[in-house]
């Protein structure tokens, strides 16, 4: 008899206790209530923001006058193409440099030497620096009377126009600096423990350093390298303040042109600014989509 009475208590303990005897429907409701405080503001800003930008670009939300559907804001194709190509090249070059430097920094950090620890601390410090401050300090570093020019003892006339010059060198350098630190920390954060054990296994089996780098470290780091690079690329494409501070006035990247038109007095300029916003969203979505396809192939391959 006593054994029979203890059985029910045992069964109640084995069922998950925290939610109690709740039906699946109520659990779903609870989960939905937990997620709503995040979903509502994000939906307002993302869907509301992008939706309004699209409507504005099509002339459906004019500041004054009647709404009329038109694609006039997209008409200046030469200008838009120049800006889009400039933005894309800045983003491609800086992300490529950031990915290479970030990957090798991550390898150095994971190796766990004291040098790696110094790199980890400096990288973490670089991640916390606001991009605007990064732009200000890169300007102080690379301008014709900047710290580097003084360090090398080159007179301002002989120093190349790195800041506000035709090469966009300072802009690319700032993005590459900040995003390489970001990419390195993402790789280290996701793979630090797993990578060392595989690396050691390969070393035991006689793999040389270059072989381990190519066949062990790189394939293991590749998915997070891809994700981090895609995020860095999207950020660089849509970022404003660095290109505005360190770039030339013409040609302009997409974001700088959009903000200039947005702040201008002309009434036709608002739809044009919004059109640039739409183009940037589409470009970002395309690049991120390609990156996600690449990630899926990587997962399938693994």
């Amino acid at each position: 008899m006593t054994a029979v009475t203890t059985v029910p208590t045992v069964t109640t303990v084995t069922t998950p206790l925290t939610p109690g005897p709740v039906r699946p429907r109520r659990r779903q409701l609870r989960a939905a209530l937990l997620v709503l405080p995040a979903v509502i503001p994000v939906a307002i800003v993302v869907i509301g923001g992008v939706g309004t930008t699209v409507l504005q670009s099509l002339g459906l939300m004019p500041l004054v006058g009647a709404a009329q559907l038109s694609t006039a804001a997209f008409d200046d194709t030469d200008e838009l193409l120049t800006s889009a190509l400039l933005s894309l090249s800045i983003a491609v070059v800086s992300t490529a440099i950031a990915a290479v430097v970030g990957f090798f920094s991550a390898v150095l950090i994971i190796s766990g030497n004291w040098g790696g620890r110094i790199v980890a601390v400096l990288g973490a410090a670089a991640v916390t620096v606001p991009h605007l401050v990064g732009a200000a300090t890169v300007g102080l570093l690379l301008s014709d009377s900047g710290v580097l020019a003084r360090l090398f003892g080159i007179s301002p006339d002989a120093w190349p126009a790195l800041v506000a010059g035709p090469t966009w060198f300072a802009v690319v350098a700032e993005y590459a600096w900040k995003e390489s630190a970001f990419i390195a920390l993402i790789i280290v954060g996701t793979l630090a423990t797993r990578i060392t054990s595989y690396d050691e296994a390969a070393a035991v089996l006689g793999a040389h350093r270059p072989a381990r780098l190519r066949l062990v470290l790189f394939p293991l780091a590749a998915p997070s390298l891809l994700v981090a690079s895609a995020i860095a690329f999207a950020y660089t494409l849509g970022s404003y303040e660095v290109a505005w501070m360190l770039g030339t006035t013409y040609p302009e990247p997409l974001s700088v042109m959009a903000l200039r038109l947005f702040n201008s007095a002309s009434l036709t300029a608002r739809p044009e600014a919004a059109a640039i916003g739409v183009i940037t969203v589409v470009l970002t979505a395309a690049v991120v989509g390609v990156a996600m396809l690449g990630l899926r192939r990587m997962r399938a391959w693994r």
Partner: protein, 294 residues
């Protein structure tokens, strides 16, 4: 005599045990480089360290330079003129506003992100994948494209600029808090909550005394990321704030666009770099308290 030597030996043994690396630890002697490769590693480490450190150099040099004309390698006279000029530009008020804004953004985005991560981690949410994609989307969205649109919406809805800036920055921070808390919840053991409830704790008690202390380090990391979003923002504060909210980045931008303000720009930049570094120090010291993982 014998006592002291044995003491030394014990200390050395303890030190060796402390330094002994375990399998899977970083920096195993097995994968350590030697000879030429060692030199290559040291050189590349130095180059990468220089790459990350070099942009901090002008901030330090210019911050304390009263006058420093072009060909000179080091500042000609050292002083606090930069600091004086920065304070005259309203640096103190801007610093306070930046700090307040970032703390508010962190205080809202962290619990909201943690709750969303909790709901997503248990796989009971209808349309869970769609919600994940939506919550991650602000990271990939070009800020200026969203800001140009949302600005119109907020203006037509008569939302005060300070509230609008906070709303947009919370949205930008939510992906970071949600996904760092998801990583934490993936490793979280519900058994502790369940054990507390079995022992008679109310759900409120279990939340405050068991659940929150266990996830506190992850919450601190999330809050740090959200703080960084508010602290680094320039564009949202500029466009949505409409001049009502003057934060540190806005003052830095206006000083940097002038000529001859190098030392004041450097002081302002340095004051924008230091607070996150202090917070980073605190956050990276926060130990993982999860007893299940020890």
């Amino acid at each position: 005599m014998t006592l002291s030597t044995s003491n030394v030996d014990v200390e050395r043994a303890q030190r060796e045990q402390h330094e002994r690396r375990m399998p899977g630890d970083a920096g195993r002697p097995l994968s350590q480089s030697r000879g030429v490769m060692r030199t290559a590693r040291i050189v590349s480490t130095a180059l990468v360290a220089l790459w990350f450190a070099l942009p901090f150099l002008p901030l330090v040099l210019w911050s304390f330079a009263n006058s420093w004309s072009a060909p000179d390698l080091l500042p000609m006279s050292v002083g606090t003129d930069g600091l004086t000029a920065a304070i005259a530009n309203g640096a103190v008020a801007a610093f306070g506003d930046s700090l307040l804004l970032s703390l508010i953004v962190a205080a809202i985005a962290t619990p909201v992100g943690a709750m969303a991560a909790r709901a997503l981690s248990r796989h009971r949410l209808p349309f869970g994948r769609l919600v994940s994609v939506l919550l991650f989307s602000p990271v990939l969205l070009p800020p200026f494209a969203a800001v140009l649109g949302i600005n119109v919406v907020l203006l037509r809805a008569w939302v005060p600029p300070e509230l609008g800036v906070t709303l947009v920055l919370v949205v930008v921070a939510i992906p970071y808090t949600t996904f760092s808390m998801r990583v934490a919840y993936a490793a979280y053991d519900d058994g502790f909550d369940e054990a507390a409830r079995t022992l008679g704790a109310t759900s409120r008690f279990a939340l405050w005394r068991i659940h929150l202390p266990l996830i506190a380090p992850a919450l601190a990391r999330s809050a740090f990321l959200a703080f960084l979003v508010g602290w680094s923002d320039y564009l949202v504060t500029l466009v949505v704030g409409g001049g009502q909210l003057v934060t540190l980045p806005l003052i830095i931008a206006s000083s940097a666009s002038g000529i001859g303000n190098e030392s004041s720009v450097a002081v302002l930049s340095l004051s924008a770099v230091i607070p996150p570094l202090i917070l980073l120090g605190f956050v990276s010291r926060a130990r993982n308290l999860n007893p299940g993982r020890q």
